[in-house]
């Protein structure tokens, strides 16, 4: 079976645009969470978000693309360019049907959609943009990325809330195993506009604190919800033999294992299924718990969800037996972009032998028995990393990245 590896990273994160900016900020514990600037959040019960800094779409994208794209699609296009550049892939040199695009989405181009709804309801149907039919929908990033790079192979789009970011990469691996050479995959999301904000508030999991240092404290005794953000990561996933054949300048990691499970319906009274996802992902990778050097946690920031994640980790690995981290405390939760960004961080941890810290978290909540990496990055060799993601409504996903030996 073909082995799928990650050979390029493209990052658009609230604490850094570009891989180098993101990774140096993340190792230094620099957070990108702050008061919302994309609209005036005063009067809403949550006012903090992670926004991607210093992003000038016109510097990257032509004048034809700008009017037809939502903010998050522009970020995705820039991240896809960066991922290909990092992998030193020239798409024109590969066969058009040997390249595909699989992304995750959560809410599509919601800001674009709000503008068009406003035009429709305040001005009438003739005011609606000719681009509305595709600028907001969930498939927009895959479609636009495929057009930009001439990728005509098997492609896809999944929506599984935060878990979708891993599901997309797993589907990319599935395509590579069946002979697609290269898949641009991951997710970039964001709906930081008033209408998106109101819809996110309705989920009941946003932190109401206005201090960026204490608003999002997963596993902490003071946890009170999360801060959302925008951005994510696009990865170049490639067949290992093809990557070697073209002389790829780096292979960050192999996508070695994956599993997803769904929680039993609430009426059954049975507990969540995250633990089973972890066990199945390890089995899929052919690894034992002791082989995992770090766990990138889902880190919901909601006490009951933190507890159930910590319990699942402890049940598989033993209490405090594996380093756990949540660099998303520096970016906020990025919906479908969050897990791909964690995959990028995991890949960089493997490269550099450094586990990035979880910032701001102090005393762990009672009963949470994990070795949460806090303060300085932990310098240890990382040969295998586990990334977890959970989606609203019952989605669990677990992916193992492994260094090539």
């Amino acid at each position: 079976m073909n082995r799928a590896v990650i050979t390029g990273l493209g990052v658009a994160a609230p604490n850094g645009l570009g891989v180098d900016a993101y990774w140096s900020a993340t190792l230094a514990g620099v957070s990108g969470i702050g008061r919302i600037t994309r609209f005036d959040p005063s009067g809403y019960p949550a006012v903090l978000a992670g926004e991607v800094p210093g992003f000038d779409p016109a510097a990257h994208l032509g004048p034809r693309l700008l009017p037809q794209t939502d903010h998050m699609t522009r970020l995705a296009l820039v991240a896809s360019d960066a991922a290909l550049a990092d992998a030193a892939v020239v798409p024109q040199r590969l066969h058009e049907y040997a390249m595909g695009v699989v992304t995750a989405s959560s809410s599509g181009g919601f800001e674009f959609g709000q503008r068009e709804l406003e035009k429709l309801w305040s001005g009438g149907p003739q005011q609606v943009s000719a681009y509305q039919s595709y600028a907001w929908f969930y498939a927009v990033n895959t479609g636009q990325i495929s057009i930009r790079h001439g990728m005509r192979g098997p492609s896809g789009v999944v929506v599984a809330d935060q878990a979708g970011g891993l599901e997309a990469v797993a589907h990319a691996r599935r395509r590579i195993r069946r002979n697609t050479r290269l898949v641009l995959t991951g997710g970039v999301d964001g709906s930081i506009c008033p209408w998106g904000w109101v819809a996110q508030l309705a989920g009941g999991r946003l932190s109401g604190r206005d201090d960026p240092g204490t608003a999002y404290l997963p596993f902490d005794a003071r946890a009170c919800g999360h801060v959302p953000g925008e951005g994510g990561a696009i990865l170049v996933a490639e067949d290992l033999d093809c990557a070697r054949e073209r002389g790829a300048r780096q292979v960050y990691a192999e996508i070695a294992g994956y599993a997803s499970t769904f929680d039993p319906a609430p009426a059954t009274g049975r507990g969540p299924a995250l633990r089973r996802a972890v066990q199945l992902a390890l089995a899929d990778a052919g690894l034992r718990p002791a082989d995992i050097d770090v766990v990138f946690a889902d880190a919901a920031g909601v006490p009951a969800l933190d507890r159930s994640e910590a319990d699942a980790i402890s049940a598989v690995f033993g209490p405090g037996a594996v380093p756990v981290t949540a660099p998303k405390t520096m970016t906020g939760r990025l919906y479908s972009g969050g897990a791909p960004l964690d995959l990028a961080a995991a890949a960089l941890s493997i490269r550099d032998g450094a586990i990035p810290p979880t910032v701001n978290v102090g005393q762990l909540a009672p009963g949470i028995e994990i070795d949460l990496v806090r303060g300085a990055p932990r310098r240890v060799p990382v040969a295998a990393a586990l990334v977890l993601a959970r989606g609203y409504g019952g989605f669990n996903a677990a992916m193992v990245l492994r260094a090539l030996s």
Binding site: L117, S146, I147, R152, L201, Y392
Partner: protein, 422 residues
């Protein structure tokens, strides 16, 4: 030996009648279900035609709480999933939850509920800073339509890999293809898979108006969807859902389940050309068809019916006619092709799964549904489109294709389940 996947249950909600039986009766009668839009006043819009479902969720067994919580498209999906399980002869206790997957396709998710709630929180479009105080608690489930998969998973008791697939108008085919992959690779033994969309709302009608994709034949709504006809002038928006029970073939055989058809091959490609435009040559769709045939280990000449995308736009019908000729060669001229969108409109992501259901029923009943309203074929559309009247014909292998915004081109090959195992 490779694992094979068969369809053992079908649940359908389509315009013109609820349930799979009513759906098949409509298709084989050649009647159309398009009409003047009744859900809101369509008079300010260019296109005022749609294929609507007469669906009352309380009569379909949903509780008041479920009705409040779920978008109409989620309601469709849950009702279809229940019909499909019952059709497959599976009680909830007969599914092994960890080995059961749910894959639901949808192009536009809960767009209708989102628009309704937007109007409330924006005070009719007046407030840019919309009010959180008037938001309904389940608004998050509309924001992120993975809630559709959650509802179906809860309804059927699935705890295996579960997701929503959203590749525009190929979502329905792609969701079934995705679920087929999960069973073949061993991640699941059973999948409840299909697609749903309920997009008939002002914003959707307006956005298709803006690019003149939908038909303005407002004076004759019953005959507004005219695929392959010289007078076609856009698609008729529709709504609906189909959900299938897919099972690993050996397991289905052991429990004595009836198999409608085998999902023998599936492939998708992108045209990487334009978000809404199509090149007339049908090149990428032809490539998807060839790849699906390869996966099915069949030759183009084995195909004896094509269920076309046949949306009734000028560019689509030419594009796909070219794709059939390019992929099947001279055999394209000998192969009946039809578009059920002529009768039930284009329900965006849902239609692909509804069309797969139609293909399974065509194999089962040895009848090909017709293309309604086709009186004067476009000279550029010169294949056998089964005009107006259903045709009795036994089929062994049928092709179902879809094409969508974003450039997606998908193709699926379904085969009579008793065909020799390859």
């Amino acid at each position: 030996m490779r694992r094979r996947v068969v369809i053992t249950g079908i649940g359908t909600i389509a315009p013109g009648g609820l349930g799979t039986k009513a759906f098949w009766e409509l298709l084989t009668s050649g009647r159309t279900a398009t009409r003047r839009i009744s859900f809101f006043d369509p008079s300010p819009f260019r296109s005022q035609v749609a294929a609507e479902c007469d669906f009352a969720p309380d009569r379909e067994g949903l509780t008041p709480q479920e009705i409040r919580r779920m978008d109409r498209a989620a309601q469709f999906a849950v009702v279809c999933a229940r019909e499909a399980l019952s059709d497959a002869g599976l009680g909830p206790h007969e599914l092994r939850p960890p080995r059961t997957s749910v894959v639901i396709g949808s192009a536009v998710g809960a767009t209708t509920s989102l628009e309704r709630e937007y109007v409330v929180v924006s005070d009719g479009g007046r407030l840019e800073r919309v009010s959180h105080e008037y938001a309904v608690p389940h608004l998050y489930g509309y924001l992120v339509p993975s809630s559709f998969a959650t509802e179906v998973a809860w309804a059927v008791g699935a705890e295996g890999p579960t997701t929503v697939v959203s590749t525009g108008c190929t979502s329905g085919l792609d969701a079934i293809g995705y679920a087929t992959d999960l069973i073949r690779e061993g991640s699941a033994d059973t999948a409840v898979a299909g697609a749903t969309d309920a997009p008939i709302s002002p914003i959707t009608v307006a956005c298709f108006d803006a690019i003149r994709a939908t038909t303005p034949r407002n004076d004759d709504p019953e005959h507004a969807s005219r695929p392959f006809d010289r007078s076609r002038n856009g698609f008729a928006l529709g709504e609906g859902a189909a959900v299938l029970v897919l099972e690993e073939a050996e397991r289905a055989r052991r429990r004595g389940a009836h198999a409608y058809a085998e999902i023998a091959g599936f492939a998708s490609r992108c045209n990487a050309f334009h978000m809404t435009g199509l090149k007339p040559d049908g090149r990428e769709m032809a490539e998807a068809i060839r790849a699906a045939l390869d996966e099915a280990r069949l030759d183009g000449t084995d195909i004896d019916y094509i269920n076309a995308h046949g949306s009734g736009t000028k560019q689509n019908d030419r594009h796909e006619t070219a794709a059939f000729k390019r992929s099947l060669g001279p055999h394209a001229y000998r192969t009946p092709v039809s578009s059920i969108k002529s009768m039930i409109g284009h329900s965006l992501g849902a239609i692909g799964s509804i069309e797969v259901a139609a293909c399974a029923l065509a194999i089962e009943h040895r009848v090909l549904p017709p293309t309604a309203n086709l009186h004067n074929p476009d000279p550029e559309c010169d294949l056998d489109y089964v005009p107006l009247v259903a045709r009795e014909q036994r089929t062994s292998a049928v092709l179902c294709v879809g094409s969508g915004f974003g450039g997606f081109q998908s193709a699926m090959v379904l085969a009579r389940p008793d065909r020799r195992a390859a």
